[in-house]
Symmetry: C2
Subunit: 309 residues, 2 copies
């Protein structure tokens, strides 16, 4: 058993920002991370939109944040993910494969994962033509040819977004109708550089150093087809890593995202959430950082001045 003021679940941008602020404020803080510190941003080929760092790879940004945290004295246990949370009492318990930690407060910053389509080449070319985030990576495909895979709101929004940057955007959907809002479908039809490929299932993503081809199965013609592209945006949904929190009684929305208020508070006193795991509408490094900071300072207030609202 070890005693903490604050345990942070996850060492992505939200968790590391929370760690820096909490540690600097004097809270006895521990960050638990099931992989290595930095978070999924490490997968992004290039990050041009984290203000202050002009042009960094996702890996560099992840490493800078991890290094910054360590320099600030943040205690991070890598390769030690939480396996169970007990949050209802004043003193909370976080269990891992190695130990059980007691703590006054918890910040859940466990992020989310993009759903994959699960075809050959998808993982191989991730960060080299395969992306899961239009806002993050779209500008890298200016005047190029890209393919979006999916048929829901986020796929259509990404397609519209990319159509203002890329030369040509194709969207491949396995059905013959979108499951998206009418206004988005109409907007799509009005763009000249967008083409919809109905009833296509992606079978493989191919390339050399980077992506140059996608192989489809056309469900109508029952033929195999090939398409030359420079990039593939997979938009078949994402899921928050909120299972443990949910099991511990933390309230989530209909998609599983943890509900937070302006102070990053959850429904349980002393339990906060920040970053991609929350129901905040924007999922960017810069917003995750802001939320991590707010969560840490709120946890600080809870521990150090419990009677002061």
């Amino acid at each position: 058993m070890e005693d903490c003021d604050l345990i942070i679940i996850g060492a992505g941008p939200a968790g590391l920002a929370a760690g820096i602020y909490a540690t600097r404020s004097g809270l006895k803080t521990l960050v638990l991370e099931e992989k290595i510190a930095g978070g999924t941003i490490a997968d992004a080929p290039l990050v041009e939109n984290y203000p202050g760092l002009m042009k960094v790879t996702g890996l560099e940004l992840a490493q800078k944040m991890a290094e910054h945290s360590k320099l600030a004295g943040v205690k991070i246990h890598e390769f030690e993910g939480a396996t169970k949370l007990e949050l209802k009492d004043e003193i909370k318990t976080v269990k891992t494969g190695r130990a059980a930690y007691q703590t006054r407060t918890v910040v859940i910053a466990s992020g989310s994962h993009y759903r994959e389509i699960g075809v050959p080449g998808e993982r191989e070319f991730r960060g080299r033509g395969v992306s899961y985030c239009g806002i993050c990576d779209g500008p890298l495909f200016k005047d190029k040819r890209v393919l979006v895979v999916g048929g829901g709101n986020s796929a259509l929004i990404t397609t519209l977004y990319l159509s203002e940057l890329a030369a040509e955007v194709k969207i491949a959907h396995r059905r013959d109708v979108f499951r998206a809002e009418e206004a988005l479908v109409k907007a799509l039809a009005n763009r000249k550089n967008i083409e919809v490929l109905w009833s296509r299932e992606v079978q493989a993503i191919q390339g050399e150093k980077t992506v140059n081809k996608v192989v489809f199965y056309n469900k109508k013609s029952e033929a195999k087809e090939e398409l030359s592209v420079d990039g593939v945006f997979v938009q078949v949904g994402e899921s928050p890593n909120s299972q443990l929190a949910k099991e511990a009684g933390v309230e989530v929305d209909e998609h599983g995202y943890i509900k937070v208020d302006m102070f990053q508070k959850t429904n349980i006193a002393g339990v906060y959430a920040a970053g991609d795991v929350t129901n905040h509408p924007v999922k960017q490094v810069g917003t995750a950082v802001g939320q991590g900071i707010a969560a840490a300072l709120e946890a600080y207030a809870f521990v150090k001045r419990p009677y002061y609202k």
Copy 2:
């Protein structure tokens, strides 16, 4: 007259983050700044808590953000502050001393200003021993002697915060009783390294390269006194730069901060606010950046897909 999709009022961290995201998204964006791009963070002697940039001066951070914005193609008019906002109609007008701009959306990121005590040496030593933010600059005074000036909640919170870092903290108040919450006053009394200097008016802040002395007038003894210190934290309040917004009908709270929701929306459609000018409880560079990003993406959604909620 010039037409924009988005005008951003203020080029501090919130405004610049909004500018980067809006410009990259393809919105025709203009940032208006009455001074130079970067914001009041430029006054901070050292910033150690903006995740990813380990140790920068406030000026360096401000310059990095400004440079990043310019590299991203953000159009910034420096030395051109807004003088009047007309926000009620669908097409809004922002007037400056030089022009009147029409725009679909507005992000107000005009920041706030710390109230000064107005004594000799205060401006001279700002950033060289005189600070207005305990969380920002407290760790620079580890094991040193600091003075807090003020008697309200924020002065007491800063004093408590600093007492865990500095060797000795004195707090000088011009009255003989605090105007702060009971719990804070009690907490203060329990700390051994805090001393309260009642009925003292600061008359001057002195030093050589950095602060080393404060001169008081003691209202009880009617004597002039001197105190050797390494740092002075002025905590006599801050005020949001929200006057123009308020005149244009934007709703503010009882302290003048612009009321925003989780999407950074104000009470007027198409008008957003981000950073220190808002009623968000945390005022840090990292949170301002997160809010600027969210505001820009919300403005993008408003302009590009008005029927899509």
